[in-house]
Amino acid sequence: MEERVLRVYIGRAVSYALLLLVALLFVIPVFWMLSGSLKTLGEIYTFPPQWIPLHPKFSNYVEAWQAAPFGRYYLNTVIVAFFGTAIEMVDAVLVAYALVFLRFPGKNLFFLALVAALMVPIHATMIANYATVSSLGWVNTYQGIIVPGAATVVAAFLLRQHFTTIPRELVEAARLDGAGHLRTLWSVLLPVSRPVLVTGALITLVGKWNDFLWPLVVTNTSNMRVLSVGLAQLYNQEGQNQWGVIMAATIFVIVPVILVFLRWQKHIVSGLTAGTTKY
């Protein structure tokens, strides 16, 4: 018996050690970035490494902000992410409503067409899309960045899934009261769909905030760059001699997403791992 107790204790100790190890594997790189952003050049180029900068150099942040038009990058990213998400969510609500509550012969085909779109990653179509966007005269414009990626698939799935769980009587009662479809959608369905709407909007927003390849190819002047692209190009310019400044700039890019994640973690995790239980 005693041996068993001992084994349980050892097992738990091993588990805690592993848990700590996993935590460290994920915390240390982030810590390295933070401490790097505050290091002087001397502290960066020293071995063994200086874990905690003795003379935190906050001016790295000022330098980073001035090394590239980060204010403009923020503005561009906010515009692109906000409008892109808004379009996607409106589309998602309309598509989900149509698929669940409106009659149409063979409407399942439209659902299948959505599923098929999941298999066509935007990166597999960027050459043709660039040609299309350029013939529309949209290269280096906000609509050029936003519109090609503005069709919704995932958010529409989430909402459709949610709408199917809503009792049909609720919708029919509203219809009998004389509410039109838009009215029913707006004042009956949307209020009870808030968590799903928030989830869909958040994962869409985060995806657009981080988007890289399309904004890279479709813009060609510094004042149209988004944060992620601007950051990468700052690095190409400054190179590896300026780790302090580069790490400070990296923090500019990730802080908004970290804040959003901390605030709405549950929504984001459930949205991003949705579909798990379906298989």
Binding site: R12, S15, Y16, L19, V22, A23, L25, F26, P29, V30, W32, M33, G36, P48, P49, D91, A92, L94, V95, Y97, L99, R103, F104, F110, A113, A117, M119, V120, P121, H123, A124, M126, I127, A128, A131, T132, P148, G149, A150, A151, A156, V206, N210, F212, L213, V217, S228, V229, L231, A232, Q240, W243, M247, T250, V253, V257, I258, Q265, G275, T276
Partner: protein
């Protein structure tokens, strides 16, 4: 029976109502499907057409060249290496996501203090910009002043010059990609673990199964659907995106093409060399491989479910 003799006016109004509903359906789905049509479906056809031409985005003419782009592309030594790199990356990422994701999920599934915090910490990189994470790791991999060097040096192991070595650059990218995305597979597995009925383990224990045996005979079979999900998602994501943003900041496809994946190749041919025919041909190849992979998986799953 009552329906048989309604006033004709009402019947017509019912027909009109249905017609209006049909129109409304089309109006509701139109915005989304117009965008999908123009920027998702049409490009596949248009790109296939472009792959049969010689074009540079600018010239007004696109001379038709038949399959010359494909012949030229496959004749290049480099292109087979590109395909090899892409599959190497994908296979390592899928295997790593399964093994490490399951390991972390098994750990987080135990009743340990602080596990929720660790869960959040592990998941956070998944929502962060790949470009930002690539930069942080670029600094970590720095052969002289980086973190890995700092850990290896005291052990007397020289740190490889990760990103400038043809042998180590790809493993470095795989490490970064796994670090960024591990939270996803871990959380999928964790959710699936929590859905396994307790009594299956009780029954296994009654049969005298130890920890390993119940992992092998209960946990892993029960996780098959989650495993399938993780494989599909990580495969599609890693194959079709190839961590482009991470490659962009860390290696730019180098050294000597060692990390040139299919997406990087398309980007290079399309937006640096302006060989639109070749870039389109490569895009078409990418799409065909992707669809083939998905069909094989689908088939495999169907066979498995029929066996069960």
């Amino acid at each position: 029976m009552e329906e048989r003799d309604p006033k004709p006016v009402r019947r017509r109004s019912r027909g009109r109502r249905i017609r209006r509903e049909h129109l409304l359906f089309l109006a509701f789905i139109a915005p989304n499907f117009v965008i999908l049509g123009i920027f998702t479906y049409w490009p596949l056809l248009y790109q296939f057409y472009l792959s049969l031409t010689s074009w540079n985005f600018l010239s007004p003419e696109k001379p038709f060249v038949g399959l010359a782009n494909y012949r030229q592309m496959f004749a290049q030594q480099g292109f087979l290496q590109v395909l090899g790199n892409t599959f190497y990356f994908m296979a390592a990422v899928v295997a790593g996501s399964l093994v490490l994701g399951l390991a972390v999920a098994l750990l987080l599934n135990q009743k340990l203090k602080g596990r929720n915090l660790v869960r959040s910490i592990v998941f956070t990189p998944y929502v962060l910009s790949g470009a930002a994470i690539g930069l942080v790791w670029d600094y970590i991999f720095d052969p002289h002043y980086g973190l890995i060097h700092a850990f290896l040096e005291p052990l007397g192991i020289p740190s490889p010059n990760w990103l400038n070595s043809t042998a180590y650059a790809m493993p470095a990218l795989i490490i970064v990609y796994l670090w960024k995305n591990l939270g996803f597979s871990a959380l999928v597995y964790l959710a699936a673990l929590q859905n396994i009925p307790r009594d299956l383990y009780d029954a296994a224990a009654v049969d005298g199964a130890g920890k390993w045996a119940s992992l092998r005979h209960v946990t892993i079979p029960q996780l098959a659907p989650a495993t399938f999900f993780v494989v599909v998602i990580t495969m599609v994501q890693s194959f079709s995106y190839n961590a482009f943003d991470i490659i962009y900041v860390m290696t730019q496809g180098g050294p000597v093409n060692a990390t040139t994946t299919l997406i990087w190749y398309i980007y290079q041919q399309g937006f640096q060399a302006f060989n639109i025919g070749i870039a389109s041909a490569a895009s078409t190849v990418l799409f065909i491989i992707l669809v083939t992979l998905l069909l094989i998986q689908n088939r495999y799953v169907r066979r498995r479910t029929e066996e069960m």
